[in-house]
Symmetry: C3
Subunit: 383 residues, 3 copies
C-alpha cells in the first residue's frame, strides 16, 4: 500500500479563471491562479486557464468559458530524481511521500546504461502498481529524458511513448533554442495524436546555461505557443533552474549560500512569473544531502522568493522541502486574521489599516488571501 503525504488528497480538479490584472473584483481568484504558489508550489490553474495579454490575445474569450479551460493543478513541492536504471531505488518509490518522483534517464544514468534505463522505465510505467495508483489519484509520475543536443533524446522518446501508460509529466533538460522546442513538440504531437481528448502530456523545461537564461523569455514564449497549438496534447507546467550545469557553464563554484546564482535564480523566477500563466518555478538542488538544516534554510528562502518547489536527490530531503513549501502555521493564522480584519474594515469603508503594527493594504491582503486559499487546497488544518 502506497503512503501519501497528509498534505495530499486527490489533486483538486477545481477551476479558476485567471482574469489577470484587468479587474480588481476578481483579484482573489486571479491571484490564486497566478500566485497561489506563493507558499507551496501549488496553484489552481494551468496554462490553458490563464490569459497572457502579450502572447495570446485571442484566447481571452476561451478563458471565459470554463469548459475549455479545465486543467488540474499538480503540486511539485519536491521533485526527486531516481536513476531510471536502478530497479531497487525504483521499487522504493511507493514508500516515498513525495509530490513528484522523477524516473531519470539523463545525468543520473551512465552513458553505457542508457538503454537499460529506457527499458526499465518502459516496464515500470506499464506494470508498477504505484504508477497506476498515482495516476488515478491525479498525482505526478514524471520522466526526465536526455537533452536533444546529446543525440539520445529521440531514442528515449521512442521507448517512452510506446509504453501503454505514459508518464504524466515529461522533463526536458538543457533547453537552448527555439528549434529544439519546435522539434520536440513536433515529435510529441505526432506520437500522441491518437490520444486527443485525454489529459495533455505536461512538459517541464530546464534552463541550465547562461545563454538559455538570457534567452528564457523567448524560449518560454515559444514553448507556450507550441503547447497552445497542440490541441491540448501538450501543456507547459513549469520550468526548472538547473543550477549545477548553469554553474559549470559560467565557471562558478557552488556554495551552500548560493550567492553565486542569486541573480540567475531571481531573474529566472521573474521571467517565469511574468507570463501570468501559473507556471511552476522549481529551485536549485542542495547537494549536501546530510545537511538538512541548511537544506531547510535554503528551501524556506526559495519559497519566500516565490519558487513553487525544489529539486531533491535523496529521500531524506523530501520532507524538509515539502514542509518548507507549505504555509507555516503562524503564517496561516496571520493570513486568516488579516483577511477577517480586512473584511471588517472594508465594510466600515476603510482601505489600508493598521494590523499588529503593520499597515495592511490591498497587496498584503492578497498575499494573505492566497495563503488561506492554498492551505485549504492542500487540506492543511484551519483554525
Amino acid at each position: 500500500m502506497m503512503k501519501l503525504s497528509p498534505y495530499l488528497g486527490r489533486a483538486s480538479e477545481f477551476l479558476i479563471i485567471n482574469s489577470g490584472r484587468s479587474s480588481c473584483l476578481s483579484s482573489r481568484s486571479a491571484l490564486l491562479a497566478r500566485h497561489g504558489s506563493t507558499t507551496s508550489g501549488r496553484s489552481a490553474a494551468g496554462p490553458q486557464d490563464a490569459n497572457d495579454m502579450n502572447t495570446s490575445p485571442k484566447s481571452s474569450a476561451a478563458d471565459m468559458n470554463p469548459t475549455s479551460t479545465r486543467h488540474t493543478y499538480i503540486p511539485r513541492r519536491a521533485m526527486m530524481y531516481i536513476p531510471g536504471d536502478d530497479a531497487k531505488k525504483i521499487a522504493k518509490i511507493p514508500t516515498l511521500i513525495v509530490d513528484c518522483p522523477v524516473l531519470e534517464c539523463e545525468d543520473g544514468v551512465a552513458l553505457n546504461r542508457k538503454e537499460e534505463a529506457r527499458q526499465l522505465i518502459h516496464k515500470t510505467l506499464e506494470t508498477a502498481d504505484w504508477v497506476k495508483e498515482r495516476k488515478t489519484r491525479g498525482l505526478d509520475v514524471a520522466v526526465r529524458i536526455n537533452s536533444f543536443q546529446s543525440g539520445l533524446a529521440d531514442q528515449d522518446l521512442q521507448s517512452l511513448l510506446s509504453a501503454k501508460t505514459l508518464p504524466t509529466t515529461l522533463l526536458i533538460p538543457k533547453i537552448e533554442g527555439k528549434e529544439e522546442l519546435r522539434h520536440t513538440a513536433h515529435i510529441l504531437t505526432e506520437k500522441l495524436a491518437g490520444r486527443a481528448g485525454r489529459d495533455p502530456l505536461r512538459l517541464i523545461l530546464y534552463i541550465e546555461s547562461a545563454k538559455a537564461l538570457l534567452s528564457m523569455r523567448k524560449l518560454l514564449k515559444t514553448a507556450l505557443k507550441v503547447a497552445d497549438e497542440s490541441h491540448n496534447l501538450l501543456a507547459l507546467d513549469g520550468v526548472v533552474f538547473g543550477s549545477d550545469d548553469y554553474c559549470a557553464d559560467i565557471g562558478a563554484n557552488r556554495s551552500n549560500e548560493a550567492k553565486e546564482v542569486l541573480f540567475a535564480r531571481q531573474y529566472f523566477l521573474t521571467v517565469v512569473k511574468s507570463f501570468q500563466r501559473s507556471l511552476q518555478a522549481i529551485d536549485l538542488v542542495h547537494i549536501d544531502f546530510k545537511d538538512l538544516d541548511d537544506l531547510r534554510r535554503q528551501s524556506e528562502e526559495g519559497a519566500r522568493f516565490g519558487f513553487t518547489g525544489k529539486q531533491v536527490i535523496h529521500p531524506a530531503q523530501v520532507d524538509v522541502v515539502q514542509q518548507a513549501y507549505s504555509p507555516a502555521p503562524d503564517k496561516l493564522k496571520w493570513a486568516q486574521e488579516v483577511v477577517e480584519a480586512f473584511t471588517r474594515h472594508q465594510k466600515e469603508g476603510k482601505g489600508a489599516f493598521n494590523f499588529r503594527n503593520a499597515m495592511i493594504d490591498r497587496p498584503l491582503l492578497l498575499q494573505a488571501e492566497n495563503i488561506v486559499a492554498y492551505a485549504k487546497l492542500i487540506g492543511q488544518p484551519q483554525r
Copy 2:
C-alpha cells in the same frame, strides 16, 4: 503656519546642461545632472534637460540652448501616502516635514470610498492653504490615481483635472503596457491643453509586476517619448518600485532584509539610470513602521545603491528616510577633502593619487564632487 524641513528652501531653479559622457571637461555638471541624486534624490535636471543619445538624437541642439530646457528639480527623498478620503490625516499634512506628500486614491482607499476620496482631493487642491504654499515655494503636491486597468482612473482624472489648482505631480500605478502610457498622455494633454506655457504636469510611474519590470526599458522609452511630444505639458520625473504588488505578482513573501527583491530593485535602478535623464528612482516601502532602526538600515542601503528616495506609509518614517537620503556629515567632509586634494594633485600633474590609504581616480573624484554639489543644493552646512 506650515513647517518645512530645514533642508528645504525654495526648490532651486538653476539649470544644468547634461552633456553625457562625451566630454570630460563638463563632467562635473553633467554628473550632477545625472548623478546628483547619488545621496539624496535630488539633482538639478529633469527630462528636458538631458539628452539621451539613444532615444532623442534630435534634441541635442535644444539641449545646448538653456532657455529651452528650464525645468526645476523637486526632491522626493520621502514620498508619503495619505488616504485621500481621510480628512483628518489630510489636515495634518502641513505639520509634516516631508518632501512629497501623496494624496492617495488607490490601494489606501477602500473600493466603496473612491468617490469620497476624489471629492475630498478636489476640494483640498482648490482650498487648502498648504497646497498653495507648497506650490508657491516649488515644493511637491502629488496625487496617486488608480491604475488604468482598474477601470477607475478615468473618473479619477476627470475629477482631479477639473480642480482649479492641479497637483504638481501625478503618480500612475501598475504600468504594464505602452498603450496605457499613450492613452494616459492622450487624456492628459487634452485636458491640459489650455495650460501651455506653464510648468508641465510631472508624472511618476509605478513598476509593480514581473512583466512590467522586464518591459521597463521599453515602457520608459515610450513614457519619455510621449512627454517629449507633449509640448511641455507633461514631464517624466521618476519611477517607483512597487514592492508589495511586485512580491504578490511573483509569489514572494516580503522580509525586512528584502533579499527576495534584490535583483528586482537593482535591475529597476539600472534601467532608470540608463536613460541618463536624471529620472528619480524611488525605493520600496518598509512596512513595519515601528522598527525605525531597520528602516534606517534599509534607507541607507537604498541611498547607497543609487535610489533617490523612498516610499513611506507613516509620519514617523519621514525623518529617518530623509536623513538617510541626505549626505552624511563625514561623507561630506571626505568629499570636500578629496575634491581639494585632487585639485592640488591635478595642478601638480598627477592623475590618480593616494588619499587615506585609498587610491582616488576620476570616478571616485566625481562621486566626491557630486556630494559636495548636492549638499550645497539642499543648504547643508559646509565646513
Copy 3:
C-alpha cells in the same frame, strides 16, 4: 632579470576545439575551453577557437580545422594599472609577478599629462627589456587608452601604433555603442594591415555604465563580429567590469561588501559566459589597498562566481588576487579524487554516485575535470 610567478611558465600554445554543448563525448575539452577559467581566469581557447551557435553558424566548419583556430591563451588573474607617465613605477614592472601589467593612459593620468604618458609608453614598448622578454615568453603587455568619447583615443592610438613593438593587448574603456566598436576596428585594422600573419592584437573592453551594461549582449556580439572580420588582425580576449565608473553612473556608493553592484557583476558575468567563446571576465577593483584580508575575501568570491581575474591598483594586491584565482590545494585534491571515483563508477555502469556525502553527477564531474585540467595548465603541483 625578470621574476615571474611560479604559476607561470611559457603561455601554453595548445589548442582545444570548443564543440559547445552539442556532444557529451567531447565535453571535457569543450568545457575546458569554455569553463577552464572556473578557478583562475585561464582557459585554453580564444575567440577563434569557439563556435557560437547564435552568431556565427558558418564558422563551425572552420572550428573543426585545428590550423584555423590556433590562438594562445594568456592568463590575466591580476590586471594591474601603472600610470603611463610615471617612469619610476614603470621601471618597477619587471619586479612584479603579475599576469597582466597595464600601461595606463586613462583615469590614472592627469589631463595635462596625457602627451607625456603617450611618449613614455611609446618609448617603453620600443626599448624596455621586460617588454621584449614578456612578449617572447607569451606573457601579456597591455596598454589602456582613453575612451573614444573623451576625444583623446585617436591620438593615443596614433602614438601607440607607431611604436616598433606593439602591446600584446589593448584595453578600451567606456564602450557605449556599436559605432565606437566599428570605428575602433576600422582604425586598428588600417594601422595593423601590414602585420597580417602575426598574432592578432588582443582587445579587452570595459563596461562602465548602466546603458552599456544593459546593451552588453549587442555590444559583445558586434565586437566578436568585427574581430572575426579582421582577418586575424584583432581578437576579443575579454571584458572588464568598470565598477567605479558604473557606480558613479547609477549614483551608487561603493562599499567593501559590494552589494550595490551584485546584480551588475552577476549579469555582466552571465552575458560574458553566454557567448561560449572563453571570453575572460575581469572583476571590480578593491579600492582599499591596505585591507588585504578583505581583498582576499572579495577575490575568492569573484573566482567562485566565475570571474577569471581582477583589476588591481597596487603591487601589494597582486599576490593575493593571483592566489585566489588559482585552484586551492584541497579543491584540486577533491577534484582529482572525484574524477578517479567517477571513472571507476562509470566502468561499473553507475551514473550519479555518492562521494563524501554528496551526490556527484555529470555537472559536478565536469567542474572537477576543469579544475584538474587547469591546474595542469598552470603547472600547479599534482598529487
